[in-house]
Each structure stands twice: as structure tokens, then as C-alpha cells.
Amino acid sequence: MPTSSPLVQLEALTKTYREGDQDRTVLEDLSLELHGGAFSVLMGRSGAGKSTLLNLISGIDLPTAGHVRIGNTELTTLSETERTTFRRANIGFVFQSFNLISTLTVGENVRLPLELSGEAPRAGREQARALLERVGIADRAQDFPDRLSGGEQQRVAVARALAHEPVLVLADEPTGNLDYETGQAVLSLLGDLVQDTDTTLLVATHDPEVLPRADRVFHLRGGTLREEVPEYIGASR
């Protein structure tokens, strides 16, 4: 387990939603520290608040109370535009439903974060090609996402998440829409890639098959977070 200073620091995080006339607290006084290069898993049932937590960590959403610090940046003090700029430079996403941009080809989807970060088109193209080769679908670079299988789409999503060399990758149920074997293959690919690039990975899931690959495991229940340290953690890495 890495021992350097924490990359992600959540402090007394609370998130409350207004539903009709009532407030519903999804996350309550939650704190967490993740170190650089760690593979962490966030377990919890549907509706437990996993996606909400990922949205807060990425700056997509703001907490009702508490702090979110990535590296030296306190996200809660940033403006919307600053958070967006920070996100596109430092964070990669992998979603359950792949969320590829249907109007861009596979290659273009991978290049998009690079272009948004201001990377030169030629360098971006080469980097994208290298990543697609790494995930094993370089031959589909010119295809549009709807021509790909679910597993292939998620591979593209993985390549896209890592294209701009983020410090943190957030994956929300990355195997949720895949069969067992494909899911395992995608997880393995994701794990290898973040390990190779020393990227921090936080996977939100309720799939226990992910656990053997994890350095740390957190359980989200009733709005609070609890860490588990079973023996098999990190066994398969």
C-alpha cells in the first residue's frame, strides 16, 4: 500500500437532497483519505450514495457541508468553471453505461479529453492509438460506438478515462452492464493500466468480484463509510 501523503481527502462530508418538502441526507459527516496509486473499492447497495460520493469527489456536485481536497486543491472553494477545468485535467471517468459520445468515433472519443486539455491534435492521435492498442481495439478506431459490443465500449471508456493521464480515475459500476467474463477482463485491464501509470482508482460497485484486486475496501451504508481490511485484499494484483 502506498504511504505517501493522501491524494484524495474528504473531510466531514455531508450531502442532503431536498425531496418535496423534506430533506434527505445521502452522505453524513463522511471522511476519507486515499493515497496516490491506490486501487480502492466503494461498496454499497443501489441508492446507498456511491454515485453521489463520486460526483462530489470529481467536483461535479458540491457537498452540503464538508471539504473535498484533491492533491492541494480544495474543490469546494472553486467556481463551477474552475471545477470543470480541474476535472478535465485531473480526473478520468468510467461509467456503468459506458457513456461514449455517440456522435464521435471510437478514436475521437479517446482523443476528446486530450483535445479538451489542449493537447496538439497529432500527439493526441498517437496517444489515443497507443491506448486503443493497449485495450485491444485499435482496429475499431474509425467505428462509431453503436457498432461495438458492450465489452468493447467499456474498453473504449477505459482508454478515454486514462487518455489525458489523470491522477485519479473514478469508475461507477464499470461491470454493471457486462457479463461476468467481459466484466473481469475490463476490470483486469483497468487495474493493469492504473498500476502501470501509478494512477489512483476508486471503483464504486456492488460486485464482490472486484474485491480481490483492491488495496482498500469501503462500505457505504446509511450515509456513513466504513473501511474493511479482509485478507484477500490486493491478492490478485
Binding site: S51, T52, N55, S58, I60, D61, E80, T81, T84, T85, R87, R88, A89, F93, F95, S97, N99, L100, I101, S102, T103, L104, E108, R111, L112, P113, E115, L116, S117, P145, D146, R160
Partner: protein
């Protein structure tokens, strides 16, 4: 091209029908604006060119009190040494060959060279002055002669006010450049004496052209010298005064035409708004993903505006091209209307001004971008998180509907305030109309919820669960249906408003004609300008007609143009008959005092448009230029008159003869004796004047029919504009509903998967489209009525000063409903066809 732009382009090209129809909507809108602008410009250019041609280099003119001036004034000027000076007799005639209207100008070739050198009448000219001055001969442009197949020596038959004259072609004018070619294309040049014979103006000229020195002091001294020579009734004016007057005549007419042409563009703007909003709503997920990947709000905003700009650009370019084509058709309609209402103008070609085209394109782009602003803002609010579902948005939208409605009420209130705060501004009137339209669009979502919920039990009884689903679907998809229905409502209401306005106008004019045409037979010479005829009835013809057996009474009318302190004025001198007081219904002033005053002395009545245009009312004094100098006339009443939007001042014939030397009559109204039928009287009259001036002898009924025909003709262009706006509205309906149905592929997939047969899905879609069309149709009726109200009581009043009676024709209302539901049904066909063939499994796939 960046990846974001590429993504945009692909989205647009993947929806060719939707985008194509939107582009078409913008294109038609721009085309109508460009076409009207080109037609207006062409007509005014044609008039300006012909005015400049006959004015030549003259700086000033001496004119008479009425249409003409005693030619003795010219002799006085020459004797006093006012040179260069040249007499001009001017008018219009129709050439039998080619049925073309020509401007005829009578000149003195010996004095004219300084003014109109292009005619070749000077010392260096090759015109043989002998025959030109001695016989009835004419010069015309060489290209026109070639068009007509005429050569020097040929005889032309020129018709004017019912009399035909023969003139021989003495020579051809060779234009030296394109401008001169166009300027002289419809010009016939004759000697002054020939023109006097042609127009029956023996001893009189239309004006005397002068060339004043350019030096200010010298000019003042020169003009002073001219004024000292002029007798009473002769006036000195700048030579461009007439062109200015003519421009003022058609100002309101042109403005309204332009505003109406903008209507099509506004409808087009709603179409763009609808398409862009739809595309945003449909791509909400995609935009959210982009935002998650780090695309900023600003980038999303620019992306959407960029798409709109692309659509606007293509639509505008197409629209400009289409506008040029449309203009060639509209220009003739416009020229006809101007000829019917204002003055003679012959427009043979469309002047394609680059600025007009650029203006049209800019307007198209600007409108498109403006219409895309709200959807672009909406796009920046696309939730970054992917967990927020559309149902949440729909609920939020329904919650917001009352607030929007409140904003709509405020907007409409703002429009009403704008009307109340301004008295005369026509643009403020149109601004208020726009506020009302936008206000209504904002009110629509709330109205949709109400109407769809009301229709739900009814549709449930008619079509069971499918009926209830169809009605419920309209409410649950409010983010799409609300916008579509609002766009349709506005588009249809605009056409309803204009339809009601035209019908109200027509009804009012028809009632007015019924009231004002009380005599049995009307006689007048044919005139090129229907509403403002100052043609003169031949005195022999008038005398013979009065003597026809069966005539119980004859009452003359004389129309002349004179100068008043407020501006050029059409003066009508009537010989009052027993029903005159019924003919001229007073809007203000007491009939029991007004009429005796008008009959006995220096008093006048003015028509409602005149009163409005010049702010002249009962108790005011009108100072008219007469042959006895400038004289005051008390205004005793304001009467209803729909014959001329320029307005008229009316006096009795006795008073007219007291102040003017003119004894001619423009028309006669006859009452038939009890023992004679109107048809028999008309036949007798025709026999009595056979072989003389070819006058129009019409029964009361025939004149009424002709008047209404001319009325309809003057509204042809408005009707064409309305039809074009309907076409854009129709495209709007089609686009909106088709997009909506296609976008709900997934929902249809779920329905098919749960056991709905293709016909049931088709029925569901069609029912829902029809319901939306019907809601738009129903909502458009009250809005259309409000728009008509503003058009009739504000815009018309401010433009022309007319009081119109608002009448709501059932066919216009029915048309609106049929348009809405018909287009909706049609729009449902294609998606229904596609759904019937689509595999439910494919439809269920997430398109993203």
C-alpha cells in the same frame, strides 16, 4: 475542426429531415423578407428613376394650385428674363401595342436642352425639330422600340382617360449607359402642344422647370425674382419635393408590408427555437457526459450557438436566393397595388441591391441566433451527473409552468403598456404584438397541462387506455410537447390574426360602400390609379349624360390635388344631392351644423385618415392654396372614408368654383327616375356618348363589385404573405411533431415489447399528435383574436387612421384548426410507418 464541432456536425447530419425542415423554415422566412424588400426597393427605384428622368437637372419648379398651371406664367417668366426655364406637361398613357403604361412628357425642345440633355434636343442633338414641333410625334427609347417592334415613322395609339390619340414615332433615344436605359425605358417624349392635346390641357402646363444658381446668395436673389413674377395660384418649390411627397405617401404601406414580411421570419424563428430546444433536450444525456469529461458551460453554449449559426447560414443563403426568385413575382403584385392606391409606377425588373441581400442574410442569421439563445442557455444547464432522470426534469418543468405563465402574463402586460404609452408609433405597435406572442408562448405549457388533463377522460372514453396514455403523454413529456405546441400556437395565431384583420377590413369597406354608394349610376373616365383618380370627364360627355332621358338628378364630383399648410392634399368638390349627408357619415362634428356650413361657404370636411395623418380636427382651419391665393377653410367635421389612406378634404362645388377657376368634373353620380330601370338608364347613357370619350358607366352594383375587386387586389400581396407564413407554420408543425415522435423511439420500443401491436402504436402516436395539434389550434384562436384586435385597432389606426369593425370569420378559425390538426396528422404518418417496421429490441437500445 475540433472534436466538439465534429460531434455537432454529425448530430446535425444524422437528423437530416429535422434539420432540413428547420433550414427550410428559415429560408422561407428570409425569402419573404428579402422578396418584399426587393419589391419595395424596385418599385421606389423605378419611381425615383422616372421622377429623376423627367426632372432632369432642374433645381426648382413652378407649379399651380391644382394639377396644372396657366402657360401664360411661362411667358411671364421668359419675359422677365428667367432663363433657363422650360415648360413641362406630364402624364401617363397606355400604349395599345404591348399594353404598356408610359410616362409621357411634353417639352419645349428649344428650351429643354439644359434640363434633359439625354433627349438630344440641344444644338448638338440630331433631332429634327421641325416635324417634332409641328405634328403629333414622339420620341421613345431605342431598346423599348425594339421590344415593341416599332420603328421611326410607325404610328402609336396612346390611350389616356378614355381617349385615344395617334402619335408617330419621330426618332429614337439612344441611351448612353445602363442607368439612362432604365430611366427612359417607359418614357414617351412629345412636344408641349402635343401633350396638351393628349391630356386635354389646352393652354396649361404641369410645371415650369428652373435652374437656380448654386451660390446661396445668388440663388436667394434668383428665387426672389421668380416669386415676384408669379401670379396668385402659382407656387415655387424645390424639384425634389414631389419625390419626397411620393415617398411619404407609401411610407406606412411599405412599413406594414415589411412588418408582415417579418411575420414569416418570426414564425421561422419559433421553428428554429423549437428545433434547437428539441435537439438540446434530446442530447441532454450526451451534453451531461461531455460536461463530466470537462467541457465547460461556455463551450456547450458556443457549441449550440455554432449549430444554430450553421443552420441559420444555410437557411439564410437559400432564403436570399429564393427571395430573389420570389421578388420577381411579388414586384408585379406590389406595382399593381401601388397603382391601385397611390400613383402610377411601371416596374419591369427587380433591382437586386446587394445591401438588401446582405440585410436579409444578416436578419436570418440574427433571428436564428436569437432564437437559439434560450436553448443554448438551457444546454449549459444539462446536469453533469448521469443519475438525474428525465422524469425528474419533467416534474420540475411542470412545477415551473405556473412561473412561466406568470412571466408570460408580465410580458403580455408589458406589450399592453407599450401600446398605452405610445400614441402613433407603428413600430411600438409591432413591438407590442411581439411581446404578446412571446407572452402567449410562455403561457402555453400551463395551458397544455390544463387542456391535456381535461381531454384525458374524453380520450379515454373514445380510445380506452391508448387515449388516456396519449393525453397523459402530452403532460409527462412537457419539456418537448410544451415547446412544440407553443411554436405551433404562435405560428397559427399569427396567420389567424392577419386573416381576421383582412376580413374585418373587407367587411368594413363593404359596409362603407353600401352606405356611400347611394346613387344609381356612376360615370368616370378610366384612370390608371383606381383610388385617386383625378381624371377629367369631357365636358361634352358630361352635358350629354345629364340630358339622357330617365335621369332624375345628376351630382358631380371633382378631385384635384392642392397644397395645404399641412401638406399635399386631395381635394374633393361635391355637388350635394338629397342623400349626400347619408353618404358622408360623420365621425366627429354635428351633421346639423356641419353640412349647412359646407354648403354655404368656406368650410370643409376632412376624411378620418386625413384628420389622423395631419392632426386636423373639427374647429381647426385648413389653409389651402387656391387660384385666389392661400385661403382659410374651417374644418366642420371628420367623416368615415376608406377610399384613400392619404386622406381627403371635401368642400361643396359652389365653394370650389368660388376659389378655383377649374370647371371640369372627375365623375358624375346619377339618380334614375322612378319610371326608368337602372339597366335601361346605363344602356341609354352608353348610346348617348358612343364615339366620344370612352368613359366607364357603371350601375351602383357594378361599381361596388369593381371596388371590392380592387380591394381584394390590393390585399393580394398581404394574402400571399399570410400564405407563406402558413407554409412556414405548417413546416413548423410537421417538424415539431415528427421530431417528437421519432425521439420517443425507446418509449415506443417499451410499448411494443409490452405487447402493443404496430397499429396500436400508430394509433397512439397519431392520437397524441392530433391532440397536440388540436391544443395548438384551440390556443391559437384566442391569441389570433388578440393579435387581430391589435392589428385592426392599433396598427391600422396608427398606419392609416382608419376605424375598422372587427369581424371574426368562421372560415379563418376553421382553417386554423384544420391546419393544426391536419399537419399534426401528417406529421404522425412517418413516425408511425417507421415504428411499425422497427424491431422493439432495436428501439429499446439506448441511442445516447
Amino acid at each position: 475542426m475540433t472534436l466538439l464541432q465534429r460531434s455537432s456536425r454529425r448530430y446535425l447530419t444524422r437528423h437530416p429531415w429535422l434539420m432540413g425542415l428547420s433550414v427550410l423554415g428559415v429560408a422561407i422566412g428570409v425569402a419573404v423578407v428579402v422578396a418584399i424588400d426587393l419589391a419595395n426597393t424596385s418599385a421606389s427605384r423605378a419611381f425615383q428613376l422616372s421622377a429623376e428622368t423627367v426632372t432632369g437637372t432642374a433645381t426648382h419648379q413652378v407649379v399651380g394650385t391644382g394639377e396644372t398651371l396657366d402657360d401664360d406664367v411661362y411667358r411671364r417668366l421668359r419675359t422677365a428674363g428667367v432663363r433657363p426655364s422650360a415648360p413641362v406637361v406630364e402624364g401617363y398613357g397606355t400604349l395599345r401595342r404591348g399594353d404598356r403604361t408610359f410616362q409621357i412628357i411634353g417639352i419645349d425642345p428649344l428650351a429643354d436642352a439644359a434640363f434633359r440633355p439625354y433627349l438630344g434636343t440641344g444644338a448638338s442633338g440630331d433631332l429634327d425639330l421641325g416635324p417634332f414641333m409641328a405634328r403629333d410625334v414622339a420620341l421613345l427609347s431605342a431598346p423599348t422600340a425594339a421590344d415593341l417592334g416599332v420603328s421611326p415613322g410607325d404610328t402609336l395609339r396612346v390611350e389616356n382617360e378614355g381617349t385615344t390619340h395617334a402619335v408617330a414615332v419621330a426618332g429614337l433615344i439612344e441611351p448612353r449607359n445602363e442607368r439612362t436605359r432604365r430611366a427612359v425605358a417607359n418614357l414617351l417624349v412629345v412636344d408641349v402642344s402635343t401633350a396638351q392635346r393628349l391630356f386635354g390641357q389646352r393652354g396649361r402646363v404641369s410645371r415650369i422647370d428652373l435652374l437656380a444658381p448654386s451660390d446661396e446668395a445668388a440663388q436667394a436673389a434668383y428665387l426672389d425674382r421668380v416669386r415676384r413674377v408669379l401670379p396668385d395660384g402659382a407656387r415655387l418649390q424645390r424639384s425634389d419635393t414631389r419625390t419626397e411627397t411620393v415617398a411619404q405617401m407609401t411610407e406606412a404601406f411599405d412599413l406594414n408590408l415589411t412588418a408582415l414580411s417579418l411575420l414569416a421570419l418570426i414564425v421561422g424563428a419559433f421553428l428554429i427555437y423549437n428545433t434547437m430546444t428539441f435537439s438540446i433536450v434530446q442530447r441532454r444525456g450526451l451534453l451531461g457526459r461531455l460536461r463530466a469529461l470537462g467541457v465547460t458551460r461556455g463551450q456547450v453554449f458556443r457549441l449550440v450557438l455554432g449549430e444554430a449559426a450553421a443552420l441559420g447560414l444555410v437557411g439564410s443563403v437559400l432564403g436570399v436566393l429564393l427571395g430573389v426568385v420570389l421578388a420577381s413575382g411579388l414586384v408585379q403584385l406590389l406595382a399593381q397595388t401601388i397603382n391601385d392606391l397611390y400613383f402610377v409606377v411601371e416596374v419591369r425588373e427587380v433591382t437586386v441591391a446587394p445591401w438588401t441581400l446582405a440585410k436579409g442574410a444578416l436578419l436570418g442569421m440574427g433571428t436564428t441566433l436569437l432564437a437559439a439563445l434560450p436553448p443554448a442557455r438551457e444546454a449549459t444547464n444539462a446536469p453533469v451527473s448521469t443519475v438525474l432522470r428525465r422524469s425528474t426534469q419533467e416534474t420540475a418543468l411542470r412545477r415551473w409552468a405556473p412561473w412561466w405563465a406568470g412571466a408570460g402574463v408580465l410580458m403580455a402586460g408589458g406589450g399592453t403598456l407599450l401600446l398605452a404609452a405610445t400614441q402613433q408609433s407603428i413600430w411600438a405597435g409591432y413591438g407590442a404584438l411581439f411581446c404578446l406572442l412571446v407572452g402567449a408562448a410562455l403561457l402555453t405549457p400551463l395551458a397544455v397541462v390544463g387542456l391535456a388533463n381535461t381531454a384525458r377522460p374524453l380520450l379515454g372514453r373514445l380510445a380506452g387506455v391508448i387515449g388516456r396514455m396519449a393525453a397523459r403523454g402530452v403532460v409527462t413529456n412537457l419539456s418537448r410537447t410544451g415547446v412544440a405546441i407553443a411554436a405551433l400556437t404562435v405560428a397559427i395565431a399569427a396567420t389567424v390574426g392577419v386573416g381576421i384583420m383582412i376580413d374585418s377590413f373587407r367587411g368594413t369597406v363593404s359596409d362603407w360602400l353600401e352606405q356611400s354608394l347611394q346613387a344609381d349610376v356612376y360615370v368616370q373616365p378610366p384612370s390608371l390609379v383606381f383610388r385617386r383618380s383625378t381624371a377629367t370627364l369631357d365636358s361634352t360627355v358630361a352635358a350629354r349624360l345629364r340630358a339622357v332621358e330617365g335621369v332624375a338628378g345628376a351630382y358631380s364630383v371633382r378631385r384635384v390635388r392642392v397644397q395645404a399648410q399641412v401638406g399635399p392634399t386631395e381635394l374633393v368638390a361635391v355637388e350635394p344631392g338629397p342623400t349626400t349627408e347619408e353618404v358622408y357619415q360623420l365621425r366627429s362634428g354635428a351633421p346639423e351644423t356641419a353640412w349647412p356650413a359646407v354648403r354655404s361657404g368656406a368650410s370643409v370636411l376632412v376624411s378620418e385618415p386625413y384628420s389622423y395623418r395631419y392632426d386636423v380636427g373639427v374647429g381647426d382651419t385648413l389653409r389651402l392654396q387656391t387660384d385666389r391665393g392661400e385661403q382659410p377653410f374651417a374644418v366642420r367635421g371628420v367623416y368615415y372614408d376608406y377610399g384613400s389612406d392619404l386622406g381627403v378634404a371635401l368642400m361643396s362645388r359652389t365653394t370650389y368654383e368660388q376659389y378655383y377657376d377649374d370647371r371640369a368634373v372627375s365623375g358624375l353620380a346619377f339618380a334614375a327616375a322612378d319610371t326608368t330601370s337602372v339597366d335601361a338608364l346605363v344602356a341609354n347613357m352608353r348610346t348617348s356618348v358612343a364615339g366620344l370619350q370612352d368613359v366607364l358607366i357603371r350601375s351602383n352594383k357594378a361599381l361596388r363589385e369593381t371596388s371590392m375587386r380592387v380591394f381584394d387586389r390590393t390585399f393580394t400581396i398581404t394574402t400571399v404573405l399570410r400564405l407563406l407564413a402558413i407554409a412556414v407554420a405548417f413546416i413548423g408543425v410537421l417538424t415539431a411533431l415528427m421530431a417528437l415522435a421519432l425521439e420517443r423511439r425507446r418509449e415506443m420500443g417499451v410499448l411494443r415489447a409490452t405487447g402493443m401491436t404496430p397499429p396500436q402504436v400508430g394509433g397512439y402516436l397519431t392520437l397524441q399528435s392530433s391532440l397536440m395539434g388540436a391544443i395548438a389550434g384551440v390556443l391559437s384562436l384566442p391569441l389570433g383574436y388578440v393579435l387581430a384586435y391589435v392589428l385592426v385597432f392599433v396598427i391600422n389606426k396608427r398606419s392609416f387612421g382608419w376605424t375598422l369593425q372587427l369581424s371574426v370569420p368562421s372560415d379563418v378559425l376553421l382553417q386554423a384548426l384544420v391546419l393544426a390538426v391536419g399537419a399534426a396528422l401528417l406529421a404522425g404518418l412517418y413516425p408511425t410507418w417507421r415504428m411499425a417496421r422497427a424491431s422493439p429490441a432495436l428501439a429499446l437500445q439506448d441511442e445516447g
